[in-house]
């Protein structure tokens, strides 16, 4: 995939095509704007949270072509042609939670929940690539996400609960299993 050369003076917008949660969007954006701002303000998906806006807190973590990336450290124009998944793309259209969301709810991994979208997106990639991680691996893979409430213990337990909930099924299985065991 070769992109043509671009020269955009300050203030000029550039067209991009991006697929977010399986919906195609054609947008005109200024190159200075972060992908996080484009997702929140132009597309209206405000579940991607912005904490530090310089790549430290991990709250804005999304999946770009399946891989966790900090949306504040990408320009919107970098998403041209990409497939993006945000927190809004996890649950089923009928509102049934993704098994990892359900597991983290069960484990009370969320307190104020500002950081949760980032943790969830990092966990989706973690369990896709390593369905049965050790506690050390969970802590390592989530080390790029900060939480100021929980002390992390309940978040790690949430990931471990997700491993159990997901069981032998493929990631992304739907409601029946996800809600199993919930009172």
């Amino acid at each position: 995939m070769s992109l043509p050369s671009v020269n955009a003076p300050i203030g000029q917008t550039l067209p991009i095509s991006v697929t977010i949660n399986e919906t195609a969007h054609s947008l005109d954006i200024e190159p200075r704007r972060s992908l996080a701002d484009v997702i929140r303000e132009d597309v209206g998906l405000t579940g991607t949270h912005l904490g530090c806006e310089h790549g430290v807190c991990g709250a804005c973590t999304i999946l770009v072509d399946g891989e966790p990336s900090r949306a504040c450290l990408m320009l919107g124009v970098h998403a041209d042609g990409a497939e993006i998944t945000t927190i809004e793309g996890l649950a089923e259209p009928d509102g049934t939670k993704h098994p990892i969301q359900e597991a983290m709810k069960q484990a009370m991994s969320f307190q104020c929940a500002f950081c949760s979208p980032g943790f969830l997106m990092s966990t989706v990639a973690l369990l896709r690539d390593n369905p049965n991680p050790t506690e050390a691996e969970i802590r390592e893979e989530l080390s790029g996400n900060l939480c100021r409430c929980t002390g992390y213990t309940s978040i790690v337990e949430g990931v471990e609960t997700a491993v159990t909930l997901l069981g032998s099924s493929a990631l992304g299985s739907t409601g029946d299993q996800a809600t199993g065991g919930v009172a």
């Binding site: 043509p4 310089h54 790549g55």
Partner: protein, 289 residues
């Protein structure tokens, strides 16, 4: 903070990028993966008038094997981490990669970008020094090569002129009797290290024939400790030899105090990492990649 305004350029070829650098030099910065430059801009530590985004330049995206490994300027950390060629031919690079940032940072950031950024606490500049890597620097004046030892000049400062592009870095091949390790102490895994060590040791036949010890986080650039390396030559790779080298390291390094660690603590960590790193490197000798 939001990014300051900038003129945005996304050249499709290296030649176009070099023309832009020649034209805008002092007022321009090269944007590769953005994991260092975009925070610098967000914090207003830098406010370039022109950003030259090299992410669309296909000729910079390759990892090639040539008596070692050459990594192009748009190879992301995650791509190098997955590369069998890097594991086999540049094991110290492979050993360093899991320590670089966090998963999400490695998915976007580039190996060469980290080298050009020249953070004294980062892993890749130390790996360049330890492996005696060669930098290929391109400009409209032509290409030149610079040895790693001459490339890093100080905090965030390198031999790169404003109109130049660090296009490739070549890491020489490690031989079969060389072991490598990267060890560090940081407050959280993935954070910049308070002190770290990239080391290699060649101990074919039970005697050390060469060793490299490159520390990061202890000075304005990564630093090798030549006396400690020399002390190892001709000895068997034992804990006693490593401890003697560690004593020299502790006596040689001259780190500063900062909010993360005192100078005395950094020296203590450096000595511990010398013993730990050399033992770990020795244990990897002859283990297939």
């Amino acid at each position: 903070m939001k990014n300051p305004p900038f003129n945005y350029h996304r050249p499709a070829t290296v030649a176009e990028a070099l023309d832009l650098l020649a034209k805008h030099g002092d007022d321009a910065k090269v944007l590769a993966g953005g994991q260092s430059l975009l925070p610098v801009m967000a914090l207003r530590l830098g406010q370039p008038e022109h950003l030259i985004d090299i992410s669309a330049i296909d000729e910079l995206k390759a990892i090639s094997v040539n008596d070692g490994v050459t990594i192009g300027a748009m190879v992301r950390h995650a791509e190098a981490e997955k590369s069998a060629e890097v594991k086999q031919h540049a094991p110290l690079v492979a050993a360093a990669l899991p320590h670089v940032g966090h998963r999400a940072i490695r998915n976007r950031g580039t190996v060469v970008g980290s080298i050009a950024h020249a953070d004294a606490a980062a892993e890749m500049p130390a790996v360049c020094l330890a492996t005696e890597a060669t930098m290929t620097i391109a400009s409209t004046d032509g290409a030149r090569t610079v040895a790693a030892a001459d490339f890093f000049e100080g905090f965030f400062s390198t031999a790169l002129a404003p109109h130049e592009l660090l296009s490739h870095v070549h890491f020489p091949a490690a031989n079969a009797t060389t072991g490598t390790a990267v060890v560090e102490v940081s407050r959280r895994h993935g954070d910049y290290a308070m002190c770290g060590l990239a080391c290699s040791i060649d101990a074919g036949g039970g005697t050390i024939s060469s060793a490299a010890l490159a520390f990061f986080g202890v000075a304005g650039t990564a630093v090798r400790v030549a006396d400690a390396e020399a002390s190892l030559i001709g000895k068997p790779p034992t804990a006693d030899a490593f401890a003697a080298a560690a004593d020299i390291v502790k006596a040689t390094l001259d780190p500063s105090d900062d909010i993360h660690a005192t100078a005395a603590y950094r020296k203590h960590i450096a000595a511990t990492l010398t013993r730990r790193g050399l033992a770990e490197a020795t244990s990897t000798i002859g283990v297939p990649a």
